[in-house]
């Protein structure tokens, strides 16, 4: 039944909440224990979250991204996955403190959306839909991490630029490594987003006959795509790096969030399930 998935989801939410709180505590009073406790909470939350997603998949018989609750939950899952990969690959101090509150907010909004498993609406019963959605979420997860790293860059840059290196200066990574990781994340997210837009267009064509329908989500997705295209282009051609790249990656992700949640306020458009 739906219940089991819900219990696992709630537990995951609880652990993410704990991780977010410990992450914030870590900013003020960092010790090895807080860092370890946070990572442990994230791992436990992620495991429970994974189970809840698999459960819904088994019940519904398709990837559980067919309503806003599932979509937001899946988006959070992709972001946590990427966070854990980054954490084990680079051991970036304080990354969790910057990103876990965001992930928790995503999960919280997911928890407030209706959860019933409905039969897949005919337009979604497409091979292309699954590919489009997974690519889009993985790409957005990369941008979410780029957002976190970008915020860290801006904080660290503020310390160095203001000539008052105090506070988190010692514990944050160097500007260079933050900038490089930010760039790498965007080079991962951008092709994923590009492919998501292409597969989305193909699917739209099959479902409605026409690549673009001009709904707000499509427009904002293209806007996001353009922002990240600018980030990459400016970096490669004009050598834009550091603060500007960080600012753009923060703005880019904010647009993603707007297109993700803001659209729903209009209750219009084709991406009703999202």
């Amino acid at each position: 039944m739906n219940m089991t998935a819900t219990i696992f989801f709630e537990l995951a939410l609880t652990f993410y909440f704990a991780a977010a709180i410990i992450g914030i505590v870590e900013l003020f009073k960092g010790t090895k224990t807080t860092a370890r406790m946070m990572l442990l909470s994230v791992i436990l939350g992620f495991a429970l979250h994974t189970i809840s997603i698999i459960y819904r998949y088994v019940i519904a018989g398709h990837i559980p991204i067919s309503n806003p609750h599932e979509a937001t939950s899946f988006f959070s899952w992709c972001t946590v996955l990427l966070f854990l990969l980054l954490e084990f690959r680079y051991k970036i101090g304080l990354l969790g403190s910057f990103i876990m509150p965001v992930i928790f907010m995503l999960m919280l909004s997911s928890s407030m959306l209706p959860r019933e498993i409905r039969p897949l609406s005919p337009v979604l019963q497409s091979y292309w839909f699954g590919i489009h959605a997974i690519l889009a979420f993985l790409g957005n997860a990369a941008f979410a991490m780029a957002f976190g790293i970008g915020m860290m860059y801006l904080v660290q840059e503020h310390y160095v630029k203001s000539r008052h290196p105090g506070g988190l200066f010692q514990r944050l990574p160097s500007l260079q490594s933050l900038d490089e990781i930010n760039y790498r994340l965007i080079t991962i997210g951008f092709p994923l987003l590009t492919l998501a837009i292409i597969t989305g267009a193909i699917w739209a064509d099959k479902a409605w006959g026409g690549y673009l329908r001009g709904d707000p989500r499509e427009v904002l997705s293209i806007a996001t795509w353009l922002i990240y295209a600018i980030v990459l282009h400016a970096r490669l051609i004009a050598g834009w790096r550091g603060r500007r790249a960080a600012v753009l990656s923060v703005i880019g992700f904010l647009i993603i969030l707007i297109s993700f949640f803001g659209i729903k306020l209009f209750k219009k458009g084709l991406h009703v399930f999202l």
């Binding site: 500007l175 050598g239 790096r241």
Partner: protein, 422 residues
Amino acid sequence: MNIFVVGLNHKTADVDVREKLAFNGPKLEEGLTRLRALPDVKEVVILSTCNRVEIYTNVRDPQKASGSIKEFISGFHGINRDSLETSLYIHENIAAVKHIFRVASSLDSMVVGEPQILGQLKDAFDIALTKKTTGVLLNRLMKKAISVAKRVRTETKIAENAVSISFAAVELAKKIFEELSTKSFMLLGAGEMAELAARHLMNNGVKDVIVANRTFETGCNLAKEFNGRAVRFEDFPHEMVNADIVICSTGASKYVLLKDQMQKVMKERRHKPVFIIDISVPRNIDPEINDIDNVYLYDVDDLQGVVDSNVQERRKEAEKGEGIIAEEVETFQRWQSSLDAVPTIVALRERADAIKKEEVDKLLNKLHGLGEKEKKDIEYTAAAIINKLIHPPTVALKEDSEDKDVLIATIKRLYGLNEKGE
């Protein structure tokens, strides 16, 4: 057993006194041997660094020891006893333990939190060990001092921030660039401070060095020293395109680098970050340059400001360190008092008496019709047996021995003497 410290440090004695009293090389070994030979001194360790000379001892009588150790110092170094008196301080027992813990943890150092002192203390202890001038008490004390210092280091941030200008510069460089070994470095002008900072950077991995000096000759010599290359001073803005870290001290009376020049440089660098340290007074680099993206400009006052706030930070952390030390002194004291044999002797005696009483009472209850004399004889025999049994351990406890703590622990265990609170 009394822990006893005689010493002087940078606060109580000027450098000319400190250097006269230093125990260097062979002097240290000789000093250890001769101090150990003093009748009042049972154990000794000498710590001699450029900021302090301290003699840690375990003495029989602090009063007498104080005199004989001071006598020794003045004789050994050929210094008038009176002039010595003003510089020396003395700590006994708890105060001595606390002092040694504070020294090891670098709370008593000139630069609080500097890490060298712990290594120096370890060396001092090692030499005393090889000269066999220490025993149970000082061995335990030194090991404890080292572990307390490590605890203070890990549990507080006492050693975390740079407290000298050149270290602060290196620390900043490391937070701007991840890896200094791939970065190139430009020396603009050739002041002494600039050279010092340059050396620090080289020690931290910077390899590629460019020197631009008004006198080309001097620049060339300096470049040779750093294994770098010299360029003409007029060319430096052009060369800055390749430099990630720039240290400037030219002694010019006006700015040698202006904002629009730097903007051009940044464009050519493709906005790769650059860290510029202007240690000239008056400043040689237009402060407005800091407004350009990816340019980080620090002048001497900025760096001094960083150092000052780091020093503040260390002071705060030092207070936490004092707390840890107070705790550890207490633990040490508890251990030391357990070394005391008297309570163990008393406990042993009491235990034996209790057994005797129990068994004699049992026997007397069973045997009826005994006369007073027989009763007395039985009690007497029982007392004689237990006295003979506990005599050797009592004597052993009263003796002055090297491994007394082991002995006490063993006796307690064998006789099942568990004191209250243990």
